[in-house]
C-alpha cells in the first residue's frame, strides 16, 4: 500500500535521532555509538543518492515488540516511523568499512602513537 505522508528529509530524521535521545526517559537514552552509526548510514545513503528525500511510502507490518523495545533503547527514538527508517538505513547502508577506511589518509599525524 502506497500513500503520501508528511515529507521528512534524512537530515530531519538525524535531528530527531538526537532530539529523541534527549527526550528519552531516565537512563534509557540512545547510545552514542548507535547515534553515530545512524548518522554515518544516512550520510552514506545521501551521498550515494539512495534516498528519495521524502517519506512517501507507507508500510503496514507486524513486528516483535521485544525487538522494537530493544531498538528504542538503543536509539532513543520514540516515533515508529523514525525507528523503522533508522533500521532500514542501517541495513541499506551495508558495511562499507574497508572502502571508507582507505579514504581516511591524513586524518592522524605521523607522530601519533597508541597509548599501549
Amino acid at each position: 500500500m502506497v500513500a503520501p505522508v508528511a515529507r521528512k528529509s534524512a537530515s530531519t530524521l538525524r535531528k530527531r535521532v538526537r532530539r529523541g535521545r534527549k527526550q528519552a526517559d531516565g537512563d534509557t537514552g540512545g547510545e552514542p555509538l548507535t547515534d553515530l552509526r545512524l548518522r554515518f548510514a544516512f550520510a552514506e545513503l545521501e551521498r550515494s543518492g539512495t534516498l528519495a528525500g521524502a517519506r512517501s511510502l507507507k508500510l503496514s507490518t507486524r513486528v516483535d515488540p521485544g525487538l522494537v523495545d530493544a531498538a528504542r533503547r538503543r536509539t532513543g527514538l520514540r516515533s515508529d516511523s523514525d525507528l523503522i527508517n533508522a533500521a532500514l538505513a542501517i541495513i541499506a547502508a551495508g558495511d562499507d568499512f574497508g572502502a571508507w577506511l582507505v579514504r581516511q589518509a591524513g586524518r592522524l599525524p605521523q607522530d601519533f602513537e597508541l597509548a599501549l
Partner: protein
C-alpha cells in the same frame, strides 16, 4: 576455563622451546596481497587502522584488498584503539583532532563484524607469548604487545580470516607456533 588446556599446553610444549628464535628472511614470509582471493575475509591488525589514518595511507595493494574483501575486526584491535581515546588528555589542544578519527573508526565497525578471541585462544596466546618472552628476552612492556598480537592471530585463525599486519617481526615469531595461520604482511607506504 578453556575447553582443553592440556591439549593447548601439549601443542606448545614450553620445554621444546629453549633457544632464541632467529627472524626469517622476507622471502619466507607472506607479502603478496595478490595471493588473497576476493572471497577470503581479512582481519586488520591495529597497524592497518593507524596506517590508513596517517598520510599517505595504506600501500596500494593492501588498500585494494581492504576495500574489496569482507573486513573483520578483532576486539583486541578495537581495545588498542579505544585505549588511546580514553588516554588522550582532554585539555590538550590536539586531542579533539586525534580522538575524532579513532572514534569514527570504532563507530563505523559493524557489530556483526567484530570478533573476539575464544577462551582457548586467550590461553593459547598467553602460553605462546610467555614462551617468546623467555626465548626472545622480551622486556616486560613488550610482553603485552606480543600477547595482543598472538590473540589477534588466533582470532583470525578461528574466524578463518587472513590477518593483515605490519608487525613483521612479531608475526614471524608467532607463525612458528601456528604455521596454519593466514597472515599478509606489508611495509609502511612510502611518502612521496
Amino acid at each position: 576455563m578453556p575447553s582443553n588446556p592440556g591439549e593447548l599446553l601439549a601443542r606448545h610444549d614450553p620445554a621444546a622451546w629453549t633457544r632464541t628464535l632467529a627472524y626469517r628472511a622476507r622471502a619466507n614470509l607472506a607479502f603478496d596481497a595478490r595471493a588473497i582471493d576476493a572471497a577470503t575475509p581479512v582481519m586488520l591488525d591495529t597497524t592497518v587502522y593507524l596506517d590508513a589514518l596517517k598520510a599517505p595511507g595504506l600501500p596500494t595493494a593492501i588498500a585494494t584488498l581492504v576495500a574489496r574483501n569482507v573486513v573483520l575486526h578483532c576486539s583486541i584491535a578495537c581495545a588498542e584503539l579505544a585505549v588511546s581515546v580514553g588516554h588522550l588528555d582532554p585539555a590538550h589542544p590536539r586531542t579533539a583532532g586525534h580522538r575524532r578519527p579513532l572514534i569514527d573508526v570504532l563507530s563505523r565497525m559493524a557489530p556483526t563484524r567484530i570478533v573476539a578471541p575464544s577462551a582457548d585462544a586467550w590461553t593459547e596466546a598467553a602460553v605462546v607469548a610467555g614462551i617468546l618472552a623467555r626465548t626472545q628476552g622480551h622486556a616486560r612492556e613488550a610482553r603485552r604487545a606480543v600477547l595482543h598480537d598472538a590473540m589477534m592471530l588466533l582470532t583470525a585463525v578461528e574466524a578463518e580470516a587472513v590477518l593483515i599486519s605490519r608487525n613483521i617481526r612479531h608475526m614471524d615469531l608467532l607463525l612458528r607456533f601456528r604455521p596454519d595461520a593466514q597472515v599478509l604482511l606489508y611495509d609502511r607506504a612510502v611518502t612521496t
